[in-house]
Symmetry: C2
Subunit: 330 residues, 2 copies
Amino acid sequence: MKTLLLNRQEVSNLICMKEVIGAVEEAYRAFNSNQVVQPDHIGIDLHPPRGDIDFKLGYYKGNEIISMKASSGGFPNNPTTYGVPSGMGTILLFDARTCALICVMDGSLITGLRTGASGAVSVKALARKNSKKITSIGTGNQARMQIRAINEIMKIEEIHAWDHTPESLSKYKADIEREFGIPVVMANSKQEAVEQADILITTTRGKGSVVEADWVKPGTHIVAIGTDAKGKQEFDPEIFRNAKVVVDSIMQCSEKGETQHPLSKNIIAKDGIHAEIGEILLSKKPGRKSDDEVTIFDSTGMAIQDNTTSTKIYQNAIEGKVGTFFEFIE
Amino acid sequence: MKTLLLNRQEVSNLICMKEVIGAVEEAYRAFNSNQVVQPDHIGIDLHPPRGDIDFKLGYYKGNEIISMKASSGGFPNNPTTYGVPSGMGTILLFDARTCALICVMDGSLITGLRTGASGAVSVKALARKNSKKITSIGTGNQARMQIRAINEIMKIEEIHAWDHTPESLSKYKADIEREFGIPVVMANSKQEAVEQADILITTTRGKGSVVEADWVKPGTHIVAIGTDAKGKQEFDPEIFRNAKVVVDSIMQCSEKGETQHPLSKNIIAKDGIHAEIGEILLSKKPGRKSDDEVTIFDSTGMAIQDNTTSTKIYQNAIEGKVGTFFEFIE
């Protein structure tokens, strides 16, 4: 019985962003078609300065693959003290017909890729078709990944960016302009950046520095990425009152997405969440109705996105004869 | 960053039963010394004729290892249709200082080994010192494993065995007599077997065929293995009324061990559980008080047993230079 091993470099070469976007769309559709089993994730929090590790499990009936992603993060001393990255990941793929282990791959890139793709999927589904300008609050790795993904599906004319760290902002501008040739305007304030947005992306750590509701102009599509845990926050919850709210998973977003805040403040009720994005992709529910609507996509990230993305990588590896086989059972 | 890969054959050669017993004792002590983090396990049930797969996570502060065991079972068509075992397992070991993946090993043998060892640990701690005769209700793989483990820690003079399938019973007798040289008496009834026991081991599937309370003679030590899920049962719960009840984990056994039944029937209360076995090993609570006492050890199996057992295998592999290194991250 052979198990395919894929290292990080191989994983990186085995999938392009277009394919990740396709895989994430497939994941969202599957989730809203009763094709998915996703138990609660489990994890262990270690004492600072160590971070945590969590394990996300997903079964997709459509591909008959069970995936398990172990994902660690928040170990600042790893690079200097131990010579390893501060966050790592491992993905196991099982053939759901037998539960045989068919693949072990490095999983450190996949969370970033599929999270980037989720923003792009929401832009395709919900943003105004004449959107040209993106505002990026936060300028770290995921802020770049969002641009990389959205750049695959529309022409971005200009990016307005803000970060509380000026050095991070300048570096983002230099990197984005070099890699994508898209001009980046470094905003003097969050408000100035937000007011420019056709599409507003937030990828901060969600530790309090929020976007005010009245900065957001009609017609904006919001991609809310940074809030993925109880207590994190990137927006004044008032923004939800008159917006069309779309989430990846109602269950997850009510608890740990940006949507937790308007719900707990009774600004919206649970049935005020318009849709899960898979329902829109499946045309079970309508998307944007007018150019004046503010749409919000609240993304917390689902195991099934890891499943479809890593399965695509596995399939590409088999097809391209990439990787190393190992027999755990002779 | 190197990850050690170990296949099933290597795992099998890397640990002896004496070491597994030591590892399980260490696990029980650690569990009752605030050295263990064990989140709830997660799993996926597939439609028959497929079985299930579950994922058990454990962190032991004493060895700074986080283990995750994926374990599948109940796929009867696997061998004939797919050429793979009906149950399989994979264990990941992470260095808890960094969460780097240090080992991926086949995990299909470890559950059997550490469950066998758990019975032996309980015999050392709770059985009468003059115990000579073992009764085995159930004659499958785990029934053999219990003998293999107990044979390491005491002299077994005679085994009385019963199984509802006569062929399984004869095969057990032949195998045990050949492998260990211990005479096996094939009992004509469960009652006849139980009445002979100094130590009574049950390893059935827990599907109803129970041991009656008044068959059990004073002084017997019971090793209750088969009940590891809600609804399974091997004993008349009346047996708990006057016995000294020891469990691996009160939380687990109250819910899915044999102890669930006397609790739900109010035959004992939760504080009628005498101890977790780690407390006895640590001398925090007394063990057997007299030769007349009936002692019960209810084992549901804990992630931390997988942790200490697989860590010992890993350490032996590193020491003996066994296995194959793979770099998931260059």
